[in-house]
Every structure is written in structure tokens, then in C-alpha cells.
Amino acid sequence: MHALITYLCGALFAAGLVLSGMTLPAKVVGFLDIFGEWDPSLAFVMGGAVMVHLG
């Protein structure tokens, strides 16, 4: 049971990365390009994660 939960935690993490767009280098670069065409959406990934983990 413990092992299964740990395994599923990894899968859940992967789903989070894929859904959020963290797997897309173009999106990550867009987030970091604050002096160009800034795409702030990835801030919501860290924001959402910290919010849940903090709570």
C-alpha cells in the first residue's frame, strides 16, 4: 500500500508537469523572457504547488 502510494506520487507529479506545460521548453523560455513576450502562466504552477503544499 505504502509502495503503491509512493509510486502514484511520482505519476501524479508527472501529470502535474505535463498538464502545466513544464515539459515544454518553449513555454519555460517564454516564462523567463520577461523583457520580451512574457508568458507569466507558469508562475501559477509554482504558486499552485506552494499553495497546496503549504496548506
Binding site: A3, L12, A15, A43, V50
Partner: protein, 142 residues
């Protein structure tokens, strides 16, 4: 709501936060991906939780790939060599800093760690400067 550009990143972040919270509650471990991977490639004996978590991470990604292939587009007009060099920098830096976006940026910040705040501000700042310089002075020809 689903069409809102911030919706999926927020949902993804919530899933990552849930994963980190459950892993911590279940094993008392920090979901720091660079740390986990770094210890695994050293070929020392690894505790079971680390192997299981990494197996879940990889198989989760593999299972999602056929479902949403567009989320796996890695081509940004840069060469494989540049990816390799960047990967070495990331590996070196995250081991030196004892963490990356997940360990410091999510887990550390959630625990209100000053060390993690310093690490997060440093790698974000460095990355922003790097993107600025690369976009302006380095076309994707190497």
C-alpha cells in the same frame, strides 16, 4: 475556464503540490527531483521510496505521451549540443545548490525556508538573464 491560459498551469501546480504533500506525509521525504535523480545515477543502493517515486514519474510521463503528444514538443530551434551543455549546467548547479525547482521552489518555499528562497531567486534570476542574452545574441545555429 479551461480556455484560460492560467487554468492548466494552476491545475498542474496543484497536482505537483499534492504529490509533494502525499510523499512527505507517507515517507517524510522531500520531492526534489534533481536530488532523487542525482542520487540514483550514483549507482549506490537506493531506498525503495526513491526508486518507486522515480518509476512513477517516468511511467506517468510515458503514459501521458500518447494522450497529449503536444505537451512533449521539445524543439525550440536549438541544437542537441546546446541541450547537452545546458543539461550539464543544470545537473552541476542543482547538485551544488542541493535542489532545483521542485525541491527548493515548491517544497522549500512551502516550508518557508530562507535557503530555498535564496536558491529560487538565484536560479530564476540567472535563467532570466540567460534567456535575455541568448534571445538577443545567440541565434539557434549551434
Amino acid at each position: 475556464m479551461v480556455n484560460n491560459p492560467f487554468f492548466l498551469p494552476l491545475i498542474g501546480g496543484v497536482l505537483i503540490g499534492l504529490s509533494a504533500s502525499i510523499l512527505f506525509a507517507c515517507n517524510g521525504r522531500i520531492a526534489g527531483i534533481s536530488g532523487i535523480l542525482g542520487k540514483m545515477v550514483r549507482l549506490q543502493p537506493n531506498p525503495r521510496w526513491r526508486v518507486l517515486f522515480m518509476a512513477g514519474l517516468l511511467s506517468g510521463g510515458a503514459a501521458l505521451f500518447p494522450l497529449m503528444p503536444n505537451q512533449f514538443t521539445v524543439d525550440i530551434g536549438r541544437s542537441l549540443l546546446l541541450f547537452l551543455v545546458a543539461g550539464v549546467f543544470v545537473g552541476f548547479g542543482t547538485q551544488m545548490a542541493n535542489g532545483c525547482t521542485s525541491g527548493h521552489g515548491v517544497c522549500g518555499l512551502s516550508r518557508l525556508s530562507i535557503r530555498s528562497l535564496a536558491a529560487t531567486l538565484t536560479f530564476m534570476g540567472t535563467a532570466i538573464v540567460t534567456v535575455f542574452l541568448m534571445n538577443r545574441f545567440w541565434e539557434g545555429n549551434i
